[in-house]
Symmetry: C2
Subunit: 210 residues, 2 copies
């Protein structure tokens, strides 16, 4: 944990290769996407032999999954922030959808990773990240869904919200709306609106006195 710079004179050992590899992986994926990523390149950028990464990660997918997990951690922080800026539970739910889309435009590579097929399935922690997302919002959902509909409806709403958010991000990153960076803000607005419509559809006709 000591040397942060790189290759001191006797720096046979790296210090914290695992973390450095994850950082390199995020960089590479940002530049060339998951498909363009290679363990060898990550090793090269970390100034380490091609075999070294395999001391820390079982295989290519394990490194990618670790990087994806890091992304999901950062994303969680973003969600938390988005939640605090909203006032009503109504708005809080909608705002998270919007912030999700905005985050996608900025951290494209990260989402490439989060959505990469097969990674979530193999890595339990990663698969649970969606559930965490839901848990984070559960209190707000309970305030929005009429109590007589029960907890199941609240969870259903949150699943639907995850789905819209994720769906909009997918469409955005696919370029369906145009160059992602250029249209992200507007798409975020539309995603927010969709989320609001969803909340309305699941909840009572009017719960918001103006």
């Amino acid at each position: 944990m000591a040397c942060s710079g790189g290759r001191e004179r006797g720096a046979y050992h790296h210090g914290d290769l695992a973390a450095a590899l994850v950082r390199a992986t995020l960089e590479i994926v940002d530049e060339v996407g998951v498909r363009g990523f290679s363990v060898a390149e990550a090793a090269r950028r970390t100034r380490v032999s091609p075999g070294a990464p395999y001391r820390h990660f079982a295989d290519r997918d394990a490194l990618l999954a670790a990087a994806a997990l890091e992304v999901s951690r950062r994303l969680r922080a973003i969600h938390l922030e988005a939640m605090t800026t909203a006032s009503s539970p109504h708005e809080r739910l909608a705002a998270v959808a919007g912030s999700y889309v905005r985050a996608a435009a900025v951290h494209r590579g990260g989402f490439d990773l989060l959505f990469a097929p097969g990674l979530r399935t193999h890595h339990l922690e990663l698969r649970d990240s969606t559930r965490e997302f839901i848990d984070l919002l559960l209190p707000s959902a309970f305030e929005v869904v009429p109590p007589e509909q029960g907890a199941k409806a609240a969870v259903g709403l949150l699943e639907a919200l995850s789905a819209v958010a994720r769906g909009y991000v997918a469409l955005l990153l696919d370029g369906v709306f145009g160059e992602p960076g250029a249209v992200a803000a507007e798409v975020a607005v539309r995603a927010t609106r969709a989320a609001r419509a969803l909340v309305d559809g699941y909840g009572l006709p009017d719960t918001t006195p103006s």
Copy 2:
């Protein structure tokens, strides 16, 4: 274009290698996912030398994209069928979302392909497939959205519907709800409900300043 079977005696030329490769690609992706796919394997299954595919497809991604395009064609047929079985425009919109999710569980490999990052971006026809999907449903959307909200609201609704459908499929295939094959039917129901909520939410008087 004549021989369809395989290796007659003098079958130096294949007949329709391009189509056969696309078929093989779909098979392989169904079995081992996009990540496990290799052009070499597709060539092997088509009983052709490893270099042959490159006469028809510029590179690996081009073959994958062609396969994805084939999937999107089949999917379009599924959508059309789902639309005819629904009676009201309301139900029609919701039903397509459900059929999308059900289709995903059956043709997992196909969706792996459709959602593979980078393919859509590179292949124009593929990127337009989402827009086609929207065009397909536009008439129904116009019947559902109050006219005073204009065409933009109708398109917005359809985008939102695409997003939920796609989002639910993504969550399903990630295994968030459990083993995809087992939970698909139930998830389809929930997706349908979300779609209905969305349709209701957009049908309400506009609450958002644009």
